[in-house]
């Protein structure tokens, strides 16, 4: 088995591309990221490592825009992310230049996934060690979309998804609690999913919303704190209601 993970162009006897699988491991070690699609909004949330004292936190934005109507969050190797994001941004502009139209979310996701795939089928290079969550609005139909790509170069559309650390627990939570939402409710759902695996508080979460009218908007720490407080209050109220129901039985 050790002989089949040196050069990624080689399949192992049982059909694995080990370098790609190792890249997926790198993703699993990256910070948690979640994306939720609503009817008129898409929300991205990312776990922020606890603030290092001397670091200027504004220089480590984890949710970036690719164009006016497209944004991206990722989990995995941040240096690889920078390169991929640059290529995607160039492609967005190149598309505008050649057909005088903005890209659709599907197009740019397909491009990013294609790029990731290219690096799994060439000699001397390693795959990109990141999975991305691409969100945006279709420039013509105005329909919101959420897509995910991974180091193997596959992509698909999602109603809600998570990647990075503890993504399984987040995805389980989303599967249980997802329903069609809009506006504020969608933001709450995304934050609730993130809070399953992250310490609560605005300091540890970065959230951004994308709407058709206002584009990408990063939420302030205070706004996040307020929503977290809202969620905690709802949780407490639900707990209290459950206790009240259980009480009569205890006689």
């Amino acid at each position: 088995m050790a002989r089949y993970d040196r050069a990624i162009t080689v399949f192992s006897p049982d059909g694995h591309l080990f370098q790609v699988e190792y890249a997926l491991e790198a993703v699993r070690k990256g910070n948690a990221a979640v994306g939720v699609r609503g009817t008129d909004i898409v929300v991205l949330g990312v776990e922020k490592k606890s603030a290092v004292k001397l670091q200027d936190s504004r220089s480590v934005r984890k949710i970036v825009s690719l164009d006016d109507h497209i944004a991206l969050a990722c989990a995995g190797l941040k240096a690889d992310a920078r390169v991929l994001i640059n290529r995607a941004r160039i492609e967005c502009q190149s598309h505008r230049l050649t057909v005088e139209e903005p890209v659709t979310v599907e197009y740019i996701t397909r491009y990013i996934a294609g790029l990731q795939q290219k690096y799994t089928q060439s000699g001397g290079v390693r795959p990109f060690g990141l999975s991305t969550l691409v969100v945006g609005f279709d420039p013509y139909t105005g329909v919101p979309s959420l897509y995910q790509t991974d180091p193997s170069g596959t992509f698909s559309a999602w109603k809600a998804n998570a990647t990075g650390r503890n993504s399984n627990s987040m995805r389980e939570f989303l599967e249980k609690n997802y329903k069609e939402t809009s506006g504020h409710e969608t933001i709450k759902l995304a934050i609730r999913a993130l809070l399953e695996v992250v310490e609560s508080g605005g300091k540890n979460i970065e959230v951004a919303t994308m709407t058709k009218e206002h584009g990408l908007r990063q939420l302030e720490e205070s706004e996040i704190d307020a929503i977290v407080a809202e969620i905690e209050a709802e949780k407490a109220a639900a707990e209290a209601a459950k206790k009240a129901l259980a009480a009569p039985k205890e006689t």
Binding site: N86, T98, V99, E100, E101
Partner: protein, 272 residues
């Protein structure tokens, strides 16, 4: 067409084998010099060689109901009329037309090529390409062949999500958006009639008649235009050919022969 990405490069690898993935980042911009004796003038020579061409009349205009496209059908080689039945309106796809002026082979081939690109765009993006996009693709191709001697003066007319669209594209890579265009040696004559009779709110029949008359008048005065005046209409459901009238017959329709009074009549003199 490769965008110049020199401003956006990451640090080039210091050592290691070059492969196509890495070279995109580190290659310095360069281009091959053309293999010619007259470096400064060879492009002008190529243009002069094809200058006399574009013996034709084509026109297109946008009006309330859509786009009207019309053309003659004469092909001339100098003073010799080689054909009176050339199809100068090329069907790129069911909702887009292109007109032919200049080199017939160039126009036919590149329009067909554009049709291919439009179809690939549709398949990849699950939506039709816009007239803007199609004309931009075409103009970029022609720009990359600039100076080689292509002769193409075409109008791309179509109907897309944003409504009717009309662009003029030529072999120098120029691309113009507009409401009325006429291309070819007969265009000055066609413009005279077209500009005079144009109104935005015309019905389809009125617009077709205007287009037909404009082509007819161009064929009347321009020796390189003639044959059949074809008129096509592009609407929300795609294009439709409206008419194809021989310009000779159109002449007598517009200017029927009037019986005139006889001033002197020759009578046979008997005897003497």
């Amino acid at each position: 067409m490769k965008l110049d990405t020199t401003g956006m490069e990451s640090a080039a690898p210091v050592w290691g084998s070059h492969n196509e993935l890495v070279d995109e980042f580190s290659a310095a911009p360069s281009f091959e010099l053309p293999n010619t004796t007259d470096f400064d003038g060879f492009q002008k020579e190529a243009i002069q060689m094809v200058k006399p061409a574009k013996g034709t009349t084509t026109l297109a205009f946008i009006f309330k109901e859509g786009v009207m496209v019309a053309a003659d059908s004469r092909a001339s080689m100098g003073g010799y009329i080689s054909s009176q039945s050339v199809k100068k309106i090329i069907e790129i796809n069911p909702y887009m037309l292109g007109t032919m002026a200049g080199g017939a082979a160039d126009c036919q081939f590149w329009h067909r090529n554009l049709g291919t690109k439009c179809r690939l765009h549709e398949l990849a993006n699950k939506r039709r390409i816009s007239v803007t996009g199609a004309s931009k693709l075409f103009a970029n191709i022609l720009y990359s062949y600039r100076g080689i001697g292509l002769s193409v003066g075409t109008m791309i007319a179509g109907w897309d999500e944003t409504g009717p669209g009309l662009y003029y594209v030529d072999n120098e890579g120029g691309r113009l958006k507009g409401m009325r265009f006429s291309v070819g040696s007969g265009s000055p004559y066609a413009y005279g009639v077209l500009d005079n009779g144009y109104r935005y709110d015309m019905s389809v029949e009125e617009a077709a008649e205007l287009a037909r008359r404009a082509i007819y008048h161009a064929t009347f005065r321009d020796g390189a235009s003639g044959g059949v005046a074809s008129v096509y209409y592009v609407g929300p459901n795609g294009w439709k050919k409206l008419s194809g009238d021989d310009v000779g017959e159109l002449h007598y329709r517009y200017y029927p022969v009037m019986p005139s009074t006889v001033e002197q009549e020759m009578v046979e003199v008997t005897g003497a």
